[in-house]
């Protein structure tokens, strides 16, 4: 097995199918994918991403946030194409990235996060997590993203200090217990191989995407660590 950070194209393809099926959650958004640092020494300098299908290599264009799109092509999925980086396995956290355009700065939309979860759990399976049989059975027959007991960690764009859900006059912050992987604080560092947030805890937060009392248009306001008070 080669020591390269890469993901089979067919997983992205399955993600695109789920996105098309559930895009009512984020009707104005496009489907992208994004790389976050995962290894402690992860760097984006000189990063090259390529879609490789047999002897054909197609460069994948990255934006300033290391996010990218891919063509939706059943032939590439059948050909065992691969999306490949020029880095070692485990360097990056690969995530689905769905963002409704035109939102205020430093906000995300809850419906976008719900769709990210669904595309990952029911299709792309990009997140590194322990996908035990009970979770996979749940993903096959239902929607684990709607279960309170299923934790869905997300990454903020930068190290984050506070996250508040806002809809109309209703405002609720996320408790510290659901930030920085504090709910998994007993996981030893050796266990970081099983997850993708081990060295990026300062970006991690777990919003209540399961809570149907928050509509999809709910905004999450981010106060970053480096922002003035």
């Amino acid at each position: 097995m080669r020591d390269v950070d890469e993901v089979p194209y067919r997983r992205f393809y399955k993600g695109m199918q789920v996105f098309a099926e559930h895009r009512r959650l984020a009707p104005g958004a496009a489907l992208r994918f994004r790389l976050y640092p995962r290894a402690q020494d992860a760097s984006f300098a000189g990063l090259v991403v390529t879609l490789v299908a047999g002897k054909t290599e197609i460069p994948v264009e990255l934006d300033a946030n290391q996010s990218f799109t891919l063509p939706m092509d059943a032939r590439l999925a059948a050909q065992d194409a691969v999306v490949m980086t020029n880095r070692k396995d485990g360097t990056y956290a690969w995530r689905v990235d769905i963002r409704t355009p035109g939102l205020p700065p430093d906000t995300r939309r809850l419906g976008d996060l719900r769709l990210e979860c669904r595309v990952d759990m029911k299709g792309a399976a990009l997140r590194r997590m322990v996908r035990d049989p009970s979770i996979m059975a749940l993903a096959a027959t239902g929607d684990p993203c709607t279960y309170r007991t299923f934790q869905n960690p997300f990454f903020a764009d930068r190290p984050v200090f506070n996250v508040t859900l806002v809809h109309g006059t209703r405002r609720e912050a996320i408790a510290g217990e659901w930030m920085y992987a504090n709910s998994a604080r007993l996981l030893p560092e050796a266990g970081y191989a099983l997850v993708d947030w081990g060295h990026a805890r300062d970006r991690q937060y777990i919003p209540a995407i399961f809570d149907a009392s928050w509509p999809d248009d709910t905004l999450l306001e981010f106060e970053y660590m480096d922002a003035p008070s």
């Binding site: 007991t149 510290g176 060295h199 300062d202 660590m225 008070s229």
Partner: protein, 117 residues
């Protein structure tokens, strides 16, 4: 010898004593701002005033300290896996969150009442 009945256990698990750090129960935004001065206040000052925090440390040397006060219930049941999360849902807590720079000085803080998700 007396044996705990299911009723007694249930009472224990859902008891109604406050938990967490009582010193932040009555802390106001103004008093917190006076105590937690960005670039000046040190960890030791805060430990002296508020006691031991729950600490999240990051590889770059920054830390976030948490002080939490739950006035509604002790709810020992929250320590039971899975069930605990359900039991705590909707609980109103007061949380003081403090970010420290690697030099050990306060960078910012947040004092807020939160309904646990």
């Amino acid at each position: 010898m007396k044996i705990a009945t299911p009723f007694m256990l249930a009472a224990l698990l859902t008891g109604c004593a406050a938990t967490g750090n009582g010193r932040i129960e009555t802390l106001t935004q103004e008093r917190a701002a006076g105590m937690l001065v960005a670039g000046t206040t040190m960890k030791s000052d805060i430990r002296l005033a508020l006691g031991e925090p729950s600490v999240t440390a990051f590889p770059n040397g920054r830390e976030v300290w948490f002080y939490r006060y739950d006035g509604s219930a002790a709810r020992l049941v929250k320590y039971v896996p899975l069930v605990g999360r359900m039991a705590e849902t909707g609980t109103q807590i007061r949380e003081l969150r403090i970010l420290f720079d690697p030099d050990g000085r306060v960078r910012k803080f947040k004092l807020q009442d939160i309904r646990v998700q």
